[in-house]
Symmetry: none
Subunit: 192 residues, 4 copies
DNA sequence: AATGAATGAGAGTTCATTCAT
DNA sequence: GATGAATGAACTCTCATTCAT
């Protein structure tokens, strides 16, 4: 059976190749929103709809679910890497914390057991966050004694980050860092 | 064609009233296993199959997905409450940690933002865990100064509990408690 | 994202378990018709629609495309095996030819290169046809000298069986057997 | 932002009018390969990609799927017509057989019931093959007594041509002609 | 005239939920 | 009460076809 559209419905205008970059960005933005609201398991169709594009466009730009997630989180991680060059450890932790409070998806980055949803990428992204942090970590910092402590601490904070509003989540995140005896700078996105 | 109704002997054995309780228990046990293997989103049909009952029985006992999850976690919480009467704080934290490492579902209890999956129940269950802990908490304990610190700490540990095997997860959980400066007893189920 | 129907639309009555056997038969019958009209690649949804059942029912009875095809062709082959016990070689060839002219799907049985569509089953079914034929094949028959000749001949006839109506196809099938110098009995289904 | 139109030098090289013919040929060649590998239902996008052109070009040259298939087969038939002028019946049958073993698409030419895929064109192409053959057919040839026998025989051989490799298929094709009592020359493409 | 992105219908598959028996 | 088949909506992914550039 060859597949061919049976309807005679008028097709909306295509927008042309110019739209390609715009659509890609719209998809990432839409995915970021939907992920934040519903987590990494949100239906792809909802993301396409929110981006205002057809489902095929999503698949053209991102061959699978993981590629889209990677593109979204990639940007988060890039901001963290940028922050690592402009601030100190406390400031970087603040930026990381901001991402944790804003994006349900970003939390998933650290839940590496959910390997089915965000396979190989997640490891890499998590490692990049770790590298950024470790570059600023003084040798005598309480999280520097055991190799795993650093990322375990981040995972712990991510576990504490629950609650209905970003404000709730930020308050709990700050409490978590306090319990760890770690100083955190302002919780905010990277400066532009 | 002239097949007469041979009385009603042809029914599958209903098991009598006793079977109802047995089925309920089997469903909870099956759900616990399936949740542990596939997470809280596992298909309900798989749970019914594993319990050896029809899907209708599942619906009879648990009107919706949340009710089943609550019943499973209810038992975990009951064990924790029991442990609270037989041991000290360190021992109780060990039991809680054991549940965290064993049951992917139990972790969800503390992720109260996933309100869609485990709605109102979760609050109650979480509160019961808190009550059990607080009864054993000395006034000068580091987690006793701020009201929320106690459950935030538990949530933090649950965030650290990732990894492929229970052994991995226990190692990380122990590291998490160490970073919090809290002593934990043996990680094990409640004594029988 | 848990999957749950959002619509409040009234659900048509289920028909109950009694319908199971009826539905299975309806699916096979519908598949036979649809296969005959559109070949083995016909959309499964069309088969479910023609059978008057939901798509899920199709999947319950036949886990994959091949299982359904096997069930359809199984019956054809069974009739051939039955015919092998009630008639001689010419009669059996007539029955086989009848199936070739009636069912586009049955032709596919012999196109074993299309292994993707009808995998392991096809081999078996084809072998059963061969066995039935060979049991009636005299040692001095023109198709008995080389081992492959018998089924090659059947495949050849199937290649000739084209045309808009069964009458067309039967005429061409008869011509094909004549060109092979093989006598064929009446082209008809197995006697009941 | 103040990017001026740098004349129209930024266009992809259109290649001039020469390219049109070149593209058409590339599409036909690509289609031949893709058809051989994946059958007549192969995605058109794969053909355009293999030809190294955009999808629009494909549609410019071939308004629909059938037109492309016809163009591919057209070339096969032309080779057969050429062979008819350089060899005898056995040689021509060898060339035809070569096409049958090489090209899954070419087999379809004779399956005129698949009218959906290769509509009106197929009849014509089939007739041209017949004409080429009949010109070389001696009046006392076994396939000359009945008008349809000639093309039925070709269809029969095409039905026998199955198997994973061209070698398999050639062996079966030779057996088929042997069963028909018809002598075939070497199975090969037309001499250049 | 070529490019290749966008579109959206539709095929395949999975499950939550109902309900006849 | 229990059973498990039926239902059909939702989700993923694939392509034929159009069209802005």
């Amino acid at each position: 059976m060859t597949q061919q559209p049976m309807s005679d419905a008028r097709r909306p205008p295509s927008g042309g190749p110019k739209a390609a970059a715009r659509n890609r960005a719209a998809l990432i933005a839409a995915a970021r929103e939907v992920y934040a609201e519903h987590g990494l398991d949100a239906p792809l169709s909802a993301i396409a709809r929110r981006a205002g594009v057809g489902q095929g466009v999503l698949y053209r730009h991102f061959p699978d679910r993981a590629a889209l997630a990677a593109a979204v989180l990639e940007e988060n991680v890039r901001q963290i890497e940028r922050a690592a060059q402009e601030t100190d450890l406390a400031g970087l932790l603040g930026v990381i914390t901001w991402h944790l409070t804003e994006s349900a998806a970003f939390i998933g980055i650290l839940h590496t057991d959910r390997t089915d949803a965000v396979p190989s990428y997640a490891v890499t992204l998590s490692q990049r966050v770790e590298r950024a942090l470790r570059a600023l970590l003084p040798g005598d910092h309480p999280l520097a004694s055991e190799p795993d402590d650093l990322m375990i601490a981040v995972a712990m904070v991510s576990g504490a980050v629950t609650g209905p509003t970003p404000e709730h989540r930020e308050r709990r995140a700050r409490a978590a860092w306090r319990l760890l005896g770690v100083e955190v700078g302002p919780v905010r996105p990277v400066e532009v």
